[in-house]
């Protein structure tokens, strides 16, 4: 077990290194000369050259990559070209809304999608099953911002049930915080729900055919207990795997959802950075999201034993 954990953790290092190299190269080949930008309009070529040397921009590619990685390990992601603030500070200021949105979406999606998939598998071939599958196809097809606008139009503008846009920090109370996140979470979660429901249904169909389920039925256990305790437990591994993989969808979708609902999170930061060509910020956000994604999936891999004690490493 311990050997497996060490091996699995070590295996993420090359992956992260490749992500880092990729993201670094992005800035390296980015058009525009940071030294010239910092020096300003009045600078002579000598000034620019001096600034370039002081920033270490004249050093070779790999030396710069090494220095950059060293900086990241100490939590230094560089300085924004536009605001002159450290990128790590900008990210810290914007992380709460995005984290809130993702956590709410995750909880909402899992608590809707898993029962949906279970019921669809239990009632295979009936109208419930067809409805769930039709919903899954729709969820994959209707883009997140379309869902967002439709929801906001009806629930916020027409019926005035929830706020249209914006974000309230958690510090100002639970309900004001949640109220603003419900519509964005449903919009962002639609693809995710479709994905999880589909996998849950497929896995449950397989599990429900096994002998021990028949035994449980023969013993006269109630249906709900069989489905959610006996069967779902054994279907857990694929479902949890897809929940982890699907986080990539959440991250990509958050960028758009935050634009639709005017949430001042990392997604907005990314969009603003793109419009301003603020490469250090883009680089920092992409790096952060990718590392979070890798680490979440590492954690899920390591957690398999908790859900399925048969798995031994």
């Amino acid at each position: 077990m311990f050997a497996y954990v060490v091996r699995r953790v070590l295996a993420t290092i090359p992956v992260m290194a490749i992500v880092a190299l990729f993201v670094f190269s992005l800035l390296y080949i980015a058009p525009g000369d940071p030294a010239a930008v910092i020096a300003g309009d009045q600078a002579t070529p000598d000034d620019v050259e001096r600034i370039r040397a002081s920033l270490g921009l004249d050093r070779p590619y790999l030396v710069r990559f090494g220095a950059w990685v060293w900086d990241i390990m100490r939590g230094d992601l560089g300085v924004s070209i536009f605001t002159n603030l450290p990128v790590s500070t900008m990210i810290r200021q914007r992380i709460e809304p995005t984290l809130s949105l993702m956590v709410v979406t995750l909880i909402l999606a899992v608590s809707i999608a898993v029962p949906m998939g279970v019921v669809a598998a239990w009632r295979q071939g009936t109208w419930i099953d067809r409805a769930v599958m039709a919903f899954a196809v729709l969820g994959f097809s209707v883009p997140v911002f379309v869902v967002g606008y439709v929801l906001a139009y009806f629930f916020a503008l027409e019926w005035d049930l929830l706020p249209v846009q914006g974000y309230t920090p958690f510090a100002r109370g639970f309900w004001p915080w949640l109220e603003n996140l419900i519509l964005p979470a449903i919009a962002l979660g639609s693809v995710y729900i479709a994905l999880i429901a589909r996998i849950t249904r497929a896995t449950m169909l397989e599990v429900l055919q096994q002998d021990y389920i028949r035994t449980a039925r023969a013993k006269g256990l109630n249906q709900g207990g069989i489905l959610f305790l006996h069967a779902l437990k054994n279907a857990a591994v694929p479902i949890i795997t897809v929940i982890g993989i699907g986080i990539a969808l959440l991250i990509g979708g958050a960028v758009v959802t935050e634009s639709v609902f005017a949430i001042p999170g990392l997604g907005r930061l990314t969009v603003d950075a793109i419009l301003r060509r603020d490469y250090p910020v883009i680089q920092g956000v992409v790096l952060l999201f990718s590392f979070v994604y890798v680490l979440v999936n590492l954690a899920i891999d390591l957690a398999y034993t908790l859900f399925d004690p048969r798995i031994r490493y």
């Binding site: 097809s141 911002f145 439709v150 503008l157 169909l205 992409v286 990718s290 994604y293």
Partner: protein, 305 residues
């Protein structure tokens, strides 16, 4: 295999295979009509995709105006006989812009599907056949896959000028790892098949094995994957344009029209809704086509999902 009902029957009686599975109930109809009747999802999806392709090709003849023609005096008009889908804040006809927008979406979708499949096929074949290359290539693909694909496309778009070609390139790069993994998986499982061993034993050269035995078997899963890539590429294009990192604003793409309508959507929701409806229907059509193809080409998979 250990089917429940078989247990009570005497040995030798195979109850797991009911009669109707052995004998086809109705003689399947031949030809295109019969195929479409047996696969209604392909029929519906294919019809809608064809419809969109026709709209894109014949956009100039479908009572459209110049999609970029400005009419400042006729800004933000509600849908009417003059402006079927209304007009935007520069007085441009949204109906015309949406119809012309089909060109951008479909071009990006099809181009990405073709490019990503071709490159992914090549990388997957190399990876599946050359052991030394495999571990290196797959580590790189793992790294690329851990950057969420929309973020990867956004990052690439930030480097270049917005143009349809660059959008195709950025989305293709983001899609390649998944295709490569798929093809590699198929290749690795095919290599273990007895008929490939037989081909090796009878002295068939590797290129010939690839062409004759491996390629034809990758085609079915690759086609299905390509349709899904096409659908997700169209969504990604719209997202990129929507956040201002996609096609240049002068080109009427669905994402651009929605981006322009964003500021006004609370008072003039139709600017956002018409392109949104077209985008959703097109993506739905391509996804239905993909699901139908998957069921038709891979019956084993169809039973599971």
């Amino acid at each position: 295999m250990g089917g429940g009902s078989a247990a009570s029957l005497p040995p030798g009686v195979n109850a797991a295979v009911p009669m109707q599975d052995i004998m086809p109930p109705v003689k399947p109809k031949k030809g295109v009509i019969g195929f479409l009747r047996r696969n209604p999802t392909i029929a519906i999806g294919g019809f809608l995709v064809l419809l969109m392709v026709c709209i894109a090709i014949f956009a100039p003849f479908l009572f459209t105006k110049d999609p970029t023609a400005l009419a400042p005096a006729l800004r933000t008009r509600e849908p009417s006989a003059r402006f079927w889908f209304g007009s935007d804040m520069l007085g441009r006809d949204i109906y015309s812009r949406v119809l012309y927008g089909a060109r951008v979406s479909l071009t990006v979708g099809f181009a990405v599907a073709i490019c990503a499949s071709a490159i992914g096929l090549f990388i997957g074949l190399v990876s599946g056949f050359i052991r030394v290359a495999d571990s290196i290539i797959m580590r790189i693909m793992d790294g690329m896959m851990s950057i969420p694909s929309i973020l990867l496309a956004i990052a690439l778009m930030a480097l270049t000028r917005g143009s349809v070609g660059n959008v195709v390139l950025a989305i293709t790069v983001a899609e390649i790892p998944r295709v490569s993994r798929l093809v590699r998986g198929v290749v690795l499982s095919l290599r273990e098949q007895p008929y490939v061993d037989a081909a090796v034993a009878s002295g068939t050269r590797t290129p010939m094995i690839i062409i004759r035995h491996i390629l034809p078997n990758t085609l079915a899963p690759l086609t299905v994957q390509a349709t899904y890539i096409c659908a997700s590429a169209m969504i990604t294009e719209a997202i990129l344009s929507f956040i201002g990192a996609g096609t240049p604003p002068i080109i009427p793409s669905w994402g651009n029209i929605m981006a322009e309508g964003r500021a006004l959507w609370q008072v003039k929701p139709y600017i956002v809704f018409f392109p949104a409806i077209f985008l959703s229907i097109t993506v739905l059509a391509v996804n239905l086509l993909g699901d139908g193809l998957r069921d038709a080409l891979d019956p084993r998979m169809a039973k599971r999902l």
